[in-house]
Symmetry: D2
Subunit: 340 residues, 4 copies
């Protein structure tokens, strides 16, 4: 079997997480998220983001978190604004529409929404009541193209949203990468969004995302909706325990760092060979543009996605690293690149 650089969820969990599951396996805990691990993990996160008012809930995956959060926040006629490349637009089987809400999509250069994009959509939705009412702005950070929002960009979006009575929701499936490689801090996430989530699945957990409402204004009765949509695990302890482990020291960021370091090694090797990139590498996702001969060579040893045709001879591929990436495999990959 070839080694895979296809994604950052090919392996199980970081060994410390499995150990924690093992260690506390037989302790009796209250069900449905009322366990001690979940409570402690929530406190750790509240401290980390420096927001004692934050309401925090643990869910099982990204699509689930997006659809339930949006469903809880919007009334029937309210709509979501998203980049055309947003995960909710491209990869969630119409989950948002299935709970009743239209997504107003905007073409962007790099997967990042800007104030101008939102403004254009607001301007196009004035013909009340014949159009939906834009109400929630969905961004991903890191985005699906690997780009990042810096502090100033997030702040500007947040201020604009406040001014226009919009809710800013940040999908943090790969938030570790964003925090690691930009000037954005944990505190900024609490200060410059209304709600966001911290992705566990793609950064060392077996499963699990931590959804944070920065004000109780937005989380009212969320527990009911979590249960109603089938997301409240009887053994909520397995989510709590994982986030407890990820946040009791800086494990969450360390795992993101490991992924990033491997990505940088690979990128350097590519740059040395004069390879172009589809988009700048800001996180653990690399999009080099290779010719078909080069792609074939790599495919003999490795698995990855061919992402986009560039021209007759070349395509961009996507390589993703993670906390679980094996150093020896990275070296093998670099050797192949050096032979180009």
């Amino acid at each position: 079997m070839r080694y895979s650089f296809k994604n950052d969820y090919s392996e199980g969990a970081h060994p410390r997480i499995i150990e924690a599951l093992l260690k506390y396996n037989m302790s009796q805990e209250a069900g449905y998220g009322e366990d001690q691990f979940s409570k402690q993990a929530k406190n750790l996160i509240r401290n980390k983001i420096n927001n004692p008012e934050a309401s925090i809930f643990f869910l099982s995956g990204g699509t689930q978190t997006n659809l339930i959060c949006i469903s809880a926040l919007l009334r029937p006629h309210e709509a979501v604004i998203s980049a055309k490349t947003g995960h909710i637009v491209t990869n969630e089987t119409g989950a948002i529409e299935a709970v009743g809400h239209k997504i107003l999509e905007k073409e962007t250069k790099d997967g990042k929404l800007k104030v101008e994009h939102i403004e254009a959509i607001l301007n196009n939705h004035q013909l009340r009541p014949h159009v939906v009412k834009p109400r929630l702005v969905y961004i991903s950070n890191a985005t699906e193209l690997g780009s990042l929002y810096n502090r100033e960009e997030l702040k500007r979006l947040y201020e604009y949203c406040n001014q226009k009575n919009l809710i800013l929701f940040m999908d943090g499936a790969r938030l570790g990468q964003a925090l690691l490689s930009s000037d954005l801090s944990w505190e900024d996430c609490a200060q410059f969004t209304h709600t966001f989530y911290i992705g566990g699945t793609k950064n060392g957990a077996l499963l699990g995302e931590a959804l944070v409402f920065n004000s109780t204004r937005y989380s009212e009765d969320f527990d009911y909706i979590l249960k109603q949509k089938g997301a409240l695990l009887a053994k909520g302890r397995i989510l709590g325990l994982q986030f407890l482990e990820l946040f009791q020291d800086d494990l969450y960021i360390e795992l993101a760092r490991k992924a990033k370091e491997y990505a940088e090694l690979i990128q350097e090797a590519l740059i040395k060979k004069g390879i172009d990139f589809l988009s700048p590498t800001e996180s653990n996702q690399i999009f080099p543009i290779l010719n078909h001969h080069q792609i074939k060579k790599l495919e003999e040893k490795f698995e990855f996605y061919v992402w986009k045709n560039i021209d007759e001879n070349r395509s961009a591929i996507r390589l993703i690293t993670s906390w679980a990436t094996q150093e020896t495999e990275v070296k093998k990959l670099i050797s192949l690149i050096e032979e180009f």
Copy 2:
């Protein structure tokens, strides 16, 4: 902390499951349920129920399984028939209505639906198009009251459903208990329901339910809906691996047996003391009727639910055992009972 007999999901997973997670932790697997563990586990289940045509999907919990399955099977005007005590009626925060379907509830003696109950509902829903169209019959086995359907009862329901063009769906959150303590076999589940699920969460797994469609007629495009409702885990391996462990020998039934044995020990002790029961004990749920002094005595050492007031002096309590129940604690409980 007092020892809890509150439910069968207070602990983590059976040690063999944690070991399996540990053992295969770093193997790379395809995401979203396409992993090798899931494929193997599905084959084991197909063999066990002797239905090579079965379509099988792994989900994370009972409410999720119920709502997605029902949502996938029904058109907008179609309704569900359930006992008034059915889990979808009492404990799922309107999850079925939230995906658009009315539940037609029927009072029953013991939580079990009979042909007469269904017939009565069909007769009351003739005034097309002003009433919903009953289309799916939901039963739980074991029921929420601990009662069981035997082979003949299930067969009769199934035949009636076929005759009336109804879909029979069996919630098997505690299916292990049903199979262990009645004449119902794995094969019968495949033969006498259209779809059913095998509960993992309450019988040794960290999380996970295996939803079985006995004919592909009912599972068409189910993968889309699983994803749309947020139930398709990126690391589907953790569900597959658990069911692989539970089904590669008879671990699933063994764990149910362990729970049942403890329940029987407790029950014997109660019977010896002449204690009455709210309903006969057929599974790992016991409903003894105690006076308030007795309840207070037990509460000093143990946690459990006071289930129902009987009269001024007495209430029924619910005691649940599981694969994880500690023998020493069962003995302590029995000692207390003997002191009554």
Copy 3:
């Protein structure tokens, strides 16, 4: 063809309404409810109920009004409380569930909800978040059984709802009957409900119900939802014009009176013959209990519903009168009754 006492929507509209449609047919008006007739009609209603703050919308029918109003007022996990005989429970094809909300049904003696009924439901829905959150109380006045809420009863319900943070919604498909035959006034409807509707279809209009929100707190953005659910007519004028006609003098109540007078004539004749009734006659619906011979006799000349079997020999039938009922036919019916 036999003359029908089946319901109060067998004919077209009161002649004054058709004349109004004819008279203003070619005047140009703004679309989607922004026409002059709708504006004037809303003002008349605001005056009649003495609530200048009321937000009023015209819809096409009862089921539509119920489902859109409830959909606009509730969040996903919130539920409706209704009598088991409520129209939304029995005759609307699961319309409320189809927009996502569970109805908590309560058995009543006469179709009328009382504080005790609501209290019992609240007490049974404490196990947050595993149960829905009761939030809206649905009553019909007149009820589906022809009974009426008097002023004191409505006031008590309203005060209880306020105390428990519940919304009181009154379905007034036959509100004319309620106002005519009880001590309830137009002003009371504004004072002792949060929202209610005035039924046109069953009281002289071609189609149309006027939905009144007694506070803008509840009507926020309702225009969007009205449009989204397909209820905003391009030619909203035809609804406005009808309510303008019904409310510019007391036509609405006069039409109810005409219906009631015929009902009373028939009732008297029945009483004279010693006929029993299924329920007391408070509105334009009469439920006499006849033997099968008597029913057969009436059926030779008239259409009506056989409503409920009473015993081997007798059934209750339902006779409904309306503004359109023909006096000569009432006399023929009475003659037949006198021959009993």
Copy 4:
């Protein structure tokens, strides 16, 4: 008040329709669409389209028809393909998403979908189950830009849809214009779509659209869904009677013709003055490009929409004529144009 060319629903109904309502006003009819007028009107339509198998339902408006039809035809994960200018995309407040379905929008030149557009969307939705499943193709004829599908174009779409297991649904809010001005016949509508509707509201009716399923395969149980969504009028007679009048001779097409003739007169006048058009005039919608001085001149006497800015000095306006347009007003408008 200025005379309005804003739309084709500013007036009431064609006088023959009001007369019919008046004439049959007091006849007693069965409720909920079971009246004799509806039955006769359906027969007339079946004859007109030469499809004795057609299932026909009368609804109140376009948004309502679109959302209920689509809701009845699709499973939860199935999506609609539409031009970006489609009415369901731009002017229905997210009605389709509110019943759970994503619309896959495609930029077009003239508001008309072509096979290539659909093919491109199918190609982009291969990543099952992470994307929705395209299943229904929505077209409007005439389109929202006034363009028309000819027979060959519709036939090609239909054949492609059949080949790809897609449902072709034609929104005929302005179908009269399409039939009048292209080579498309009534029979073609039945032969080359799976379902379509015949718009009454914009062509002489007070309200009403006739939804036609060309095969019972698609209309199964539609009556339930019609009722559930609040669209089944108690006095269905008022819809039936109108379509009876529109179809008992060729009134429906005659009314479209009258609208078209006025449009042509205005267009000629514009052409004579060398005015350009935003899009070719194929129906009763004209989109001349005028300078701001010209627009101002017209605005002194007439109401219409300024549709789109063209450049600093010019905008396109939209003029719509109808069966109700007054000849004298058309002449006044032309006089003003001649003064340009």
